[in-house]
């Protein structure tokens, strides 16, 4: 086990996640014809939140938040960032699949401690949304596993370097992943669990001060994980962290354009969308890759 990588990987995740948050706000502002905040605005917000007085709602409220943060950090350790992959297991992809569920569960647990009616609506929406995007997500992962005959993320990256990017050999799975990307990130067309205008920002309604800061940091990690997984599965990973972050930036900006111009779905519209188009495309990709047989 690589100790330096275990420290370096979360640091990269944090810095890049916060940088993406700042970039997100600037680019959203420019698309909306506004000037926008400075790039450092998320850091300013987090500094302020850590210096604020915060209200806790008991032990579960605090522990659930730490559980989700820990879940995100541990997931990050299994994802290769360029050549940095501290926990390089033979079954990395399956581990990531299970560990990615810890973060929303922790947030749901923590929110439940807050006992606000808006939170319970937010939790039910978040869980339903997770249920709706997990179906195409599992199909996509299955397609990738069948095509490359491996469940190790590091091996996947190496195989793609030999045979070309995954998005070219598995175009349908790549498109399906890109379609569920906003749902996995919880941004605009699928911003259902945190709708500020409908349910007073839902899940995070009771968070204040340092708890809200931890919530934002967890969000930054999650954003990094989901996009990094896309880059590793379909854009061939990278040999070094810098190229990797550059590829992530491209995916992130492409996703941001969808986020900036679309209004929010209703709950049943979101589920109907996730269970039709991404699921059908992913299923077609799975069947094609099963018929054609895998690589190697």
């Amino acid at each position: 086990m690589n100790v330096v990588g275990c420290i370096l990987s979360p640091v990269i995740g944090f810095v890049v996640g916060i940088f993406f948050m700042g970039l997100f706000r600037i680019m959203m502002a420019r698309i909306h014809w506004r000037y926008g905040p400075p790039l450092t605005q998320p850091i300013i917000d987090i500094i302020k939140l850590f210096h604020q007085k915060s209200v806790s709602h008991g032990l579960i409220f605090e522990l659930g938040l730490f559980l989700s943060l820990a879940g995100s950090v541990v997931t990050l350790l299994f994802i290769p960032i360029g050549n940095i992959c501290p926990l390089n297991l033979a079954g990395g992809l399956l581990v990531v699949l299970y560990l990615m569920l810890i973060a929303p569960m922790g947030i749901a647990l923590s929110g439940g401690g807050g006992s606000n009616p808006n939170i319970s609506i937010g939790i039910s929406r978040k869980m339903l949304l997770a249920l709706s995007y997990e179906v195409p997500f599992l199909l996509i992962i299955l397609t990738v596993m069948i095509h490359y005959r491996t469940i190790s993320l590091v091996n996947l990256v190496e195989l793609q370097r030999a045979s070309g990017w995954g998005i070219i050999s598995l175009p349908l799975a790549g498109i399906a992943y890109f379609l569920i990307l906003p749902a996995m990130l919880g941004v605009r067309p699928f911003e259902i669990a945190e709708a500020p205008q409908e349910i007073a920002s839902g899940l995070k309604v009771e968070y204040s001060g340092k708890f809200l800061a931890l919530y934002y940091i967890e969000h930054a990690f999650r954003r990094f994980i989901v996009i990094a997984l896309f880059v590793n599965l379909f854009l061939g990973g990278a040999g070094e962290p810098f190229t990797f972050v550059l590829k992530m930036l491209v995916v992130f900006i492409a996703g941001l354009f969808i986020n900036a111009v679309f209004p929010r779905f209703r709950m049943e519209q979101a589920i109907r969308f996730n269970w039709t188009w991404p699921t059908l495309i992913a299923l077609a990709g799975l069947i094609i890759s099963m018929i054609w047989g895998g690589y190697g």
Binding site: H32, R34, Q41, D45, I47
Partner: protein
Amino acid sequence: MDRNVLTKWLKQPQKMGNKYSLWAIYFCTGCGIIEVPPVITSRWDAERFGVIPVATPRQANLFLITGYVSLKTLKAIIRTYEQMPEPKYTVGFGSCPINGGMYWDSYNTIKHLDKYIPIDGWIAGCMPRPEAIFIAVTHLWTLIDKEMANGYKKYRAKYQYYRENQEKALGKLAWPPLFKTDNGNE
């Protein structure tokens, strides 16, 4: 604006953070709702000053009360103010919260809002232009810099005065005192 001066950030991170990250909760009691949306959207973009709207008082540190305050909304205003985490700043927007404005002889509105919760700054006018919010924000920066925006400390220190005024206007309050008062339990 000293947002990019790194030495100040290292010296006083709390003060600088409070200055440049004002998350506002708008209490649009009657009028004033027309002036706020252009401020936060693309016409006058408040986000370039770090001011963004939030949906819940738990996350806000700037409280903007626009328009007249009736007795019924005063109750909600007090509860919202008490839920906000410290440090918190309040700004009264329009002439009605200052002295009653055109409702100066109404039986059901509050004439002086600063008797019930501490106010850090006023924006006079009926209605003020949306740009006035930015002038208020920059003035608030100056006040935070000189540590004069200490309404939340005043609320803590003189809680009994405020609580008495609130009870005089609203009768018996349904919630217990936030801080210790002399003539009651906590």
